[in-house]
Assembly symmetry: C2
Homo-oligomer: 350 residues x 2
């Protein structure tokens, strides 16, 4: 019976602070062939995401990764061997078995990715994938943004943040403002993504800078960073404002022990709502989102932006770069070449 | 034209930390007689409440008191002179012009208090008044407590807290636990009000103490105290738990500048909702609450508990005692004697 040799990345120990190379281990392993109802997938692209830092720790009520086991995460790949009629060889699928070059999985754990001219494969892990969907659910369900309301997003040049600003605009937000960590990112938010305002958060007083950029106050704050960013936003929140707690990348390497904002009293005095969520609990709405977002991408209202590095051996560095804010848009690791898109029907019939 | 001489308490300056006597001034003033549509009320009882400490400061989005003006707050009084047919002399009314011995107000700003045998007048400012209503709205609207869920309330022996625990039990809560600052209060919560558990929060590790008293975790945390109490509750919150931010009496004398909880990351990882509210925005539901709570009081499910001091000259001390936690139940100031209840109809016809 043929076995498939492949590589995967294991969590070797729980990181203390910023993860280092030795917290991970690259393993060469061999996979059993797919059994009945299963497929063997060659991964093409894998995602690295901030939430993964949280899964490296053991926290209550949050699923953590086991040591000496392969990690997981969103990925896209091509079916190379199939034991299921719905997913023939050559099918492009998205699934949850990232951090490895090949995966064997039940067909039910894979979703077919349909090729659409003009939409790159990377978008399916970014603005059309969990990042874009997180932005959408956060804005519509958690933040309940209504037309005309102002939106402020921290970590705005990241995968989720860049989608938040763009989707807020599409949904009719009033002022859309974001913060990011480099002048290049700030320029990109305004010139590339159409934010009304953006600023570099390396300022003396973040609170004053937020107030200057959003002089009429914040109705919805989409928090990807936490810490001092949350404190500055609280100062500028309008009455009955909503704080969408999506991430706290500024705190993930500490996770616990950093003092919280000293102005949390505003939750009371301004009657704010602050709510955390994880996207996995909202998957029922994902198909509807993909349909809407595909239209937005094709008509140019929404842009897909990615930072892509190559090779599974670069995945840990890509993850560290992500935590250090070195990406613009979705941070991805390319594990193998894109499959050839299906032939254009018009061309084939000519 | 007769004018009415009376006394009232002014805010003389904004307190720095715990309010001191010199932050206030007792003024003797004379009132114009009631004009058309107005009534003159002799106040019988006035309320002192934690939120008043916040109104003494100038905070964004929260109505503050002006200096050298009389403060206000809930009160109950008797109409002594009337220029409105709906409120004849002798009518008992509740209204918002506390911190004074007499008040002239438009009839539309007063609500008739109906005498019910077995319900003392004090209850109308406590468990049937804004304190009880705040507990009810916080549990039902903000916390969305469902039967079987566990409830933890800090400041549980106060006016709102003591109503929270009792109403949660009536609404079908599972475990009901409260914290308070003295052994006498703790005993009262369990023996007097039927809490499942209570503890003195002067412990070495509040977090461990909360966990021990609510071993299966908290579904709804009703926060009256803030600060370290919020931090301890966050440690024990269950997934999808709700934090009702009703007060932060532990922080009112600082108001800003104290570090927030260092485990706010749990809002994200446990998918919590945290929401502040003020009762004035929910008044449409007040009559329905009074109807329900009156039944609960009469059938003994709900107890009215008060700490009453006498004389407007004691009002500032009563307020300071409230902030220092020296009350059990609702803290009230008696300004004059209760009016005679209307004669019993059965007796009159006998």
């Amino acid at each position: 019976m043929t076995r498939y040799e492949t590589r995967e990345v294991h969590l070797a120990r729980r990181p203390d602070g910023m993860p280092v190379t030795d917290d991970f281990r690259m393993i060469t392993t061999s996979l059993e062939p797919p059994g009945p109802g299963q497929v063997l997938v060659r991964n093409v692209l894998m995602s690295v995401d901030p939430y993964m830092r949280v899964r490296m720790a053991k926290l209550p009520s949050y699923p953590h990764w086991e040591l000496d086991q392969v990690m997981d995460g969103s990925a896209i790949g091509v079916v190379e061997r199939s034991e299921h009629p719905d997913l023939p060889v050559g099918t492009v699928v998205s699934h949850r078995l990232g951090w490895r070059e090949h995966a064997v999985l039940d067909a039910g754990h894979a979703s077919t990715v349909r090729h659409i001219d003009g939409i790159p494969l990377t978008a399916h892990l970014g603005v059309l994938g969990m990042a874009g969907f997180t932005a959408y659910v956060g804005l519509t369900q958690i933040g309940a943004l209504t037309p005309g309301e102002s939106l402020y997003v921290s970590g705005a040049a990241g995968a989720v943040g860049s989608a938040v600003g763009q989707i807020a605009r599409i949904l009719g937000a009033g002022r859309v403002v974001g913060s990011a960590g480099t002048p290049a990112k700030v320029a990109y938010l305004v010139d590339g993504l159409g934010f009304d305002g953006a600023f570099d958060y390396h300022v003396e007083s973040l609170s004053e800078c937020v107030a200057t950029n959003i002089p009429d106050g914040i109705d919805v704050y989409f928090d990807n960073v936490g810490g001092g960013h949350l404190q500055a936003a609280l100062d500028s929140m309008n009455q009955h404002g909503r704080i969408v707690v999506c991430g706290a990348i500024g705190e993930y390497n500490a996770l616990r022990g950093q003092p919280g904002p000293s102005n949390l009293i505003y939750v009371l005095t301004k009657r704010l709502r602050m709510e955390g969520f994880t996207i996995r609990e909202h998957m029922a709405e994902y198909p509807a989102f993909v349909a809407r977002a595909t239209t937005w991408l094709l008509d140019g209202q929404l842009r897909s932006t990615d930072t892509v590095v190559s090779g599974l051996e670069s995945a840990v560095d890509a993850f560290r770069d992500l935590l250090a804010g070195r990406n613009i848009g979705k941070m991805l690791v390319r594990l193998s070449e894109d499959p050839t898109p299906p032939p254009d029907r018009g061309a084939a019939s000519a």
